[in-house]
């Protein structure tokens, strides 16, 4: 094993990890504002990727197809929240998990009817020569993914930490009852978080599609990986989710490289189990406490 190879694994791990991170951020956004684990998060990636491919098929240029696909997906998220999730708000967390798994199967079925079962491909979003780093090759697509992740993190930070609406979202997350008393309609906040999470899912689907091809059933696996990343990161903080995603991606890349790609999923889920057994609050999570 030489150094260049290690760097190569690291780059491909971080690339895949960035996508897991985006999905994990979507999980965290919904979980924080509503307490719901949304297992349909991966389906948002599928809808984003597939609708982007459709828009391009209809002759949209790439720069118009991507925002349109993101918009469509976030409307799907909004619609699902307003029609189904809202009605089930009083259900227990376990029921909610079953409901979102059902939702994921439903969306997958609808995806199959609309887009068929054949994999579709999306051409690379940017065309540039690969860059060489310490003897390893970083494709322009990988670089693009890192840039997207960093930009989104900055935007999310600004939104959640520096805007009034962002503070209202965080308030409804920490104390929905008190937020209600301030005049915050916590149901609208739930709708907002679903749209936001759907948009994030769509972005991850669109950037992964040129690398793996898109199918109606792509959502399940990357959705689960996003979930694992979220749990590793500690469920309720965005930076933890990002670290969890990157860590999981790198772990997978190295196990692909040194063992076999057959085991990579098994390794991811073993890590999930290990984290749940040894550090259930996540690697980057804090146990919560409050002054009374």
């Amino acid at each position: 094993m030489d150094f260049a190879q290690v760097v190569q694994y690291l780059i491909s791990g971080l690339t895949v990890g960035s996508i897991y991170a985006l999905l994990a951020i979507g999980f965290v956004t919904i979980y924080n504002t509503t307490g719901i684990l949304n297992f349909a998060q991966g389906e948002f990636a599928m809808i984003g990727a597939m609708s982007c491919i459709s828009f391009i098929g209809w002759g949209f240029p790439m720069y118009a197809a991507i925002p349109s696909a993101i918009l469509v997906t976030s409307f799907v998220g909004l619609f699902l929240e307003r029609t189904l999730i809202k009605r089930a708000r009083r259900s227990t967390p376990v029921h909610m998990v079953v409901i979102t798994i059902g939702l994921s199967i439903l969306l997958k079925g609808i995806g199959m009817i609309i887009w068929g079962t054949y994999p579709k491909s999306l051409s690379p979003i940017i065309h540039a020569a690969p860059i060489e780093i310490f003897g390893a090759v970083m494709t322009s697509q990988s670089l693009f993914i890192f840039i997207v992740l960093i930009m989104l993190l900055i935007l999310l930070y600004l939104f959640f930490d520096k805007t009034y609406l962002g503070s209202a979202l965080r308030a409804s997350e920490t104390n929905p009852r008190a937020a209600n008393l301030m005049g915050i309609n916590t149901q609208s906040m739930s709708a907002l978080s679903f749209s936001l999470a759907a948009a994030l899912g769509a972005i991850s689907g669109i950037i992964i599609a040129p690398m793996t091809d898109a199918t109606y059933e792509m959502g399940l696996m990357i959705g689960l990986k996003g979930f694992v990343a979220m749990v590793i990161g500690g469920m309720n903080n965005i930076s933890g989710a990002v670290m969890g995603g990157l860590l999981l991606g790198v772990l997978e890349a190295f196990s692909n490289g040194f063992l076999s790609s057959t085991y990579s999923d098994a390794i991811s889920f073993s890590v999930l189990l290990l984290v749940l057994f040894l550090r259930p609050m996540g690697l980057f999570g804090k146990t919560s406490g409050a002054r009374v």
């Binding site: 104390n175 009852r177 008393l181 409050a290």
Partner: protein
Amino acid sequence: MLKIDNLSASIGNVRILHSIHMQVNEGEIVSVIGANGAGKSTLLNTLSGLYKPTEGTVQLFSETISGLPAHKVVGRGLSLVPEGRQVFSNLTVKENLLLGMYSNYFKKKELAKPNLEKVLEMFPGLKKHLNNLGGLLSGGEQQMLAIGRGLMSDPKIILLDEPSMGLAPMIVNEILANLKFIKEQLGVMVILVEQNVKAALNVADRVYVMDQGRVTLSGTRDEIGKNEDVMSAYLGVKRA
């Protein structure tokens, strides 16, 4: 003026409030006292829209506010400072205060600054903490933050659910002095729910005594203060 007429409320299948009649006039501090489980908190939560009344009406300056959800009631001018303060622990003090005026922030953004100054003038102790997290404040400071946050929406009436809970007597006195300021300087009506009856009698103009979901007695501060039943039940003063 706040007028509560024949108000009843249930939690689940259990009826907690039974036909409450109450009135708060302009420029008044009204205190509601009673034992644990008398329904005081349920009353405040029903007034603020967290619970839906099963019967009766609540009118604030002849506008009916009963039946509205909590996030709309605050915009109509009724603000509740909930039991146990409930500050947003992971938000800064400034963010906490600004969220207090969420109901009219998007319409009257220009009020944010003067309102913030007004609250900080009232609670100068919060000034140095503006950028600290709400959860890191002491109990007394959190209570001041909660009251300040409740005032940010320019309410016509503010409801306080046991502001003295868990606080040192000196801080309780400070908070009670603030209630007088709220009444006299800001012209806001106050409903004060207290277990600390002595403190409540100190600042209230009128008092309602609640027992098992009913108003059993009402009167001016002096009338209630001289009532032997109340004194023996809540202050342990022995009958002569």
